[in-house]
Amino acid sequence: MSGYVLRRLLQSLVVLIGVSILVFAIIHLVPGDPIRQALGTRATEAAYQALRARSGLDDPLLVQYFNWIGSALTGDLGVSFRSGRPVTALILERIPATLSLAVAAIVVALLIAVPLGTISALKPRSPVDWFATVSSQAGLSIPDFWMGIMFILIFAGTLGWLPSGGYVGLTEDPVEWARHLVMPAVTAGVASGSILTRFVRSSVLEALGQDYVRTARAKGMRARDVLTWHVLRNALVPLVTVGGVQLAYLLSGVVIVEIVFAWPGLGQMALQAVEARDYSLLQGAVLLFAVIFLLVNLVVDLLYAKLDPRISYQGAAR
């Protein structure tokens, strides 16, 4: 098992190096000069040249790349051109907000998807199934910015139950943290939940049709136990796969939800970095997103073995 993990980590490293080269190349190919963007329109040519020289952008690309990747290996992702602050600090500053939102959103998504998907699979073509299908379709189709704005107008504006937007740290004030989190988490969670509902439904349906379920029923096992021990457990594997992808997606920032709720997450940061052509910040953010996806995938693969004893990485290691 540990051999498998090690090999996977090594593979991830190769992927990361590839990602770093791609990101670096693409960013530098995109038109738009970060120096002009930083100086605005009235600065003189001399000011432009001075800042350009200071920024290191005049070095050959290869030199720039190795400088960047060299310090990245020591955990130093460089300095954000736009803000003059270390990229690592800017990312760390936003991780609590992003983590809060991603975890809360995936919880919301699972709370929607697991019961709704299971019930509709147990009673296919029933009104419950119909409701689940329609509502997951609706959840996917309603734009998140619109849903977010409606939530704000209703729950913050009209009812006054929740704050309109913003973020409070969990350590600062747990109650306010939770109050600020509700609307963005539900907004982001509904879309993910709608996707997951369909997967839960189909994988539960599939498991229900398996021989072992028929056998379990035939030997007189209680319906609830059959569902818990034979159906749901087997249906979990695909759910974990799709859920993992959803979580990774949420962790790399839900830009629209972040904007609507003034939520200081990574998505907004990356968007600003694109707009300002803030090369080092964008490179750092994309690298981080790649790490998140790789890690989540690894965890998902390891979870398979836990969930389903038939899956083993021992054999693969040989």
């Binding site: 100086l39 009235r42 003189t44 800042l51 913050a156 006054g160 913003g166 904007i259 907004q268």
Partner: protein, 515 residues
Amino acid sequence: MAAAALGTALVLAACDTGEDVDVDQDGSGAENGATDEDGDAAPVQGTFVAAISGEPDQFDPHVTSAYASFQVLENVYDTLVVPDDEGEFQPSLATEWTTSDDGLTWTFTLRDDVVFHDGSEFDADDVLYSFNRIIDEELANAYRFASVDEITAPDAQTVEITLTEPTPALLDNVGGFKGMAIIPEGAADEYDLATEGAGTGPFAMGSPGASGISLTAFEDHWGGPPSVDQVEFRYISEATTALTSLRTGEVHWTDNIPPQDIESLQSEDGIEVGVSPSVDYWYLALNQDVEPWDQLEARQAVAYGINREQIVDVTQFGAATVNQTAIPEDNFWYHDYAPFDHDPDQARDLLDSAGVEEGQSLGIMVVQDTEGVQAAQVMEANLADIGISVQIEQEPSSTWLDRQAEGEFDAFMWSWLGNLDPFGFYHAQHYSEGGFNAQGYNNPEVDDLLEQAASETGQDARKALYDQAAEMIVDDVSYLYLYNPDVVQAWAEGVEGYEIRPDRAINFENVTVAE
């Protein structure tokens, strides 16, 4: 080189506000008002909460060019002189100033009771240090010292600026906005100015967060302590969120108001909306190095072909004033001159005489997600009537700036913000060698007038020169001026002591909030 008003900064900010997306805030529930950095609940009357639509890029006043940064910095730093709401310069860190007879030496007398937030005392060396930092490091605002020969400090309370030519716009150059802030000697080495404040202003800067920044009252401020204990800026880019926060009392003030919402907000209880003319202008510039726009008749045809009133109605819902020159009425520099009425027939005649064929294409380059896009759409419809086929080219601001600098455009739309002194809004733009003359305008007569005006020390004589130049600029369609947008801000009922300013500077020094 060029020198100017609020300049750089604010101009870029024009597009920034549209697209600079961002976050918010730091802590508070609707009913207990704001929470300070440590999470301690502060009494609501002690903390003023402002929701701004942009997000500051950084807080070094000499480096940043983002309007959102200056919204914060306005409250943290001081300059030698400061514009009042008429655009006239008033004493700030300098109590008085004199100009030598030849106009080449300006002597500023400094206040002797000023301390910085870090406790150090303010004197002439700090002014020298600040200005020399901008000049020596060739920072964004170095051009403001283009005509400066030497800056000296005869004594601790006096600063002398020697010029190579008379520079009547010097007060604007050194005090037009907080980009010319005075920082303590050695501050750039001692502090990380991108994140740490070192000013003399009414508020001291707290540490910046991803969602906002808090300022704390500076008790030793030379003008007396400000009227609130804290100002908290929150970055809320979504207007619905900002306005709902204002309605629920989570914030006291916001500038995040879409023009289409002004009317309905004005009729709401508990909210006051301030709509006031600004000294900003939006304009269209046609590339005079590209056929057929190198021909005067073709440019004038466009000037006759567009309908300014319609543009203002569509983009601003009326919260703007059409203008064919740069500066709005009520301003000292206003010049009443409007030769182009909307006249499609006249426009067609001009196109004929310029030999421009039906279906001539015109690419209008605009920064994406700004009001310029809607304005360009109106122009597209207007110009279709006279046989010009407009393509709207939306670009992110970085690409826009590149294309503009490299002259790769037929026409572009842009704005200048915070215009105070005409030197700042005519020279770089219309002087043949001007740093922002991207449209390629070259009129020796205008050059001559602008040169004279730059060193003319008599205010009325200077205005006469600029008026003459302005007429030529308009006639030649160097810039096709469109309108002056209003400043639109809203605040909770009970907020007192706040004044909207035509240059959009935001100052919360005297603001109070009723309980």
